[in-house]
């Protein structure tokens, strides 16, 4: 009973700025969904022609506050962990940047109907500076 109450208390708390994900005291963070985690953020960074852009900096920012930063891989793909449950993904902005490029737009894919959203997919588009 005590444990059930405690679990409910933990689930009930949804501090706005906190991130989800596993914890380590040292070494690399493990990024994986836990019971209190909201959906992650993923997508592809593309150039104007649709080709993937490698090594672009991708930032997810919640309400102009807590930000997560990663880099796209050779396929242009990026993956970021979720904020905690209760955070509205609509309030999480995705942006991308790379020297010599400027961001032109972001396109968020609609969530599949009737299925839990595991990852919010957003592609980010860059154009080479002239």
């Amino acid at each position: 009973m005590k444990l059930v109450l405690l679990t409910l208390l933990v689930l009930a708390s949804s501090p706005a700025p906190a991130l989800a994900g596993a914890n380590r005291d040292s070494g690399q963070d493990e990024v994986g969904p836990g019971p209190n985690d909201g959906p992650g953020y993923s997508g592809v960074v593309r150039d104007a022609g649709g080709a993937p852009v490698n090594d672009a900096r991708v930032t997810a920012t919640y309400r102009d506050g807590l930000a997560m930063v990663t880099r796209s891989n050779a396929a242009g793909a990026y993956n970021l962990p979720g904020y905690r449950k209760g955070i509205n993904p609509e309030e999480v902005k995705i942006a991308c940047a790379k020297p010599g490029y400027r961001q032109t737009r972001v396109t968020r894919k609609p969530a599949p109907r009737g299925q839990p959203v595991r990852s919010v997919e957003t592609d980010c588009w860059l154009q080479r500076d002239r």
Binding site: S26, Q28, D29, A67
Partner: protein, 314 residues
């Protein structure tokens, strides 16, 4: 904008309390700082100094061994303020285990073999006549993961930070000892910056340090206890009663978990370096601790504080 790096793990741990509180209480805003916490992914304590160098962040939270390692590898990163001094790691065991000496032959979880937690636990075990060879060591990083191991029966004893150590005790697990019993003054986590960046942005760094110092004052302010408890609850997802006990633990006489104003005890950093030497991470001769700190900003904050007090006295 001032971009402050934090590992995902630190972001959800008690070690983020000073900065989280400064944000919540508007202490950065009061200093005119547009402050943003940035979490690099993939990240981790060992990658935070990299985040300074690749311009992901301006300042970063970092555990001192990682700062020392990075600086010796060529980084110009230095500690500009202390965030946590003597960390309190509690060795918590299954209820039927009464003493540390009873751990012989049992499964004991430790953290990163080269890290502060493992070092302090080895010392604590040795104080009670138990060597690492006497126990079955399981390496598990992260207090939450170690608590899970204890709860699921895979570990007989585990080192836990706050608040999970207090949570475990409330569930009936037994406290066998604390890291501070075995390890003297220690500088655990700091705010670090590249020396070159900090010099070029000295005035901003001073304002950051002043906000951080105000956060420590807030933690100690009885009138702010409710706000501090609320911050601990939000950061670590524990009930308020456990958060209250965390604060009480930090306030115990003799415990120096939190600096008074972000001050850096160079001797405590020297202790970290000594531990790194002892555990084979650094070769002799060991470097002096002074090279890993830049105290100018703390000194300037102290000078400004004195100036303010003189003005008030007039």
């Amino acid at each position: 904008m001032l971009r402050y790096g934090q590992a995902l793990s630190a972001q959800k741990s008690i070690y983020s309390l000073p900065v989280a509180l400064a944000e919540r209480e508007g202490l950065f805003r009061r200093e005119g700082i547009d402050f943003r916490v940035v979490v690099p992914v993939p990240g981790g304590a060992d990658l935070m100094i990299d985040a300074l160098h690749d311009d992901t962040v301006d300042l970063t939270h970092v555990a001192t061994p990682f700062l020392v390692r990075a600086a010796l590898a060529g980084s110009d990163a230095v500690a500009i303020a202390a965030e946590f001094n003597d960390p309190i790691y509690s060795l918590v065991a299954r209820p039927e285990i009464a003493r540390i000496a009873d751990l012989k032959g049992r499964v004991v979880a430790l953290a990163d073999p080269g890290g502060s937690i493992t070092y302090s636990m080895r010392k604590l075990l040795a104080l009670h006549g138990v060597r690492e060879a006497n126990v079955q060591v399981k390496t598990i990083d992260g207090t939450p993961a170690r608590l899970n191991c204890l709860r699921r029966g895979g570990c007989d004893a585990v080192p836990l930070g706050q608040p999970q150590d207090l949570l475990a005790q409330s569930e009936g697990y037994r406290l066998l000892g604390r890291s501070n019993d075995a390890v003297p003054a220690y500088l655990y986590t700091v705010t670090a910056a590249r020396r070159s960046w900090a010099t070029a942005n000295a005035e901003l760094v001073v304002r950051y340090v002043r906000a951080l110092a105000a956060a420590f004052a807030t933690i100690r302010d009885p009138a702010k206890r409710g706000a501090v408890v609320s911050a601990i609850v939000d950061i670590t997802s524990v009930p308020p009663s456990v958060a209250e006990r965390v604060l009480d633990l930090y306030a115990e006489p003799g415990r120096k978990a939190l600096p008074r104003e972000g001050e850096i005890e160079v001797k405590a950093l020297a202790q970290v370096i000594a531990f790194m030497g002892e555990s084979g991470q650094l070769a002799s001769p060991l470097p002096g601790a002074e090279r890993f700190v830049d105290l100018r900003y703390l000194r300037e904050v102290a000078r400004l504080k004195e100036e303010d007090m003189r003005k008030l006295a007039r």
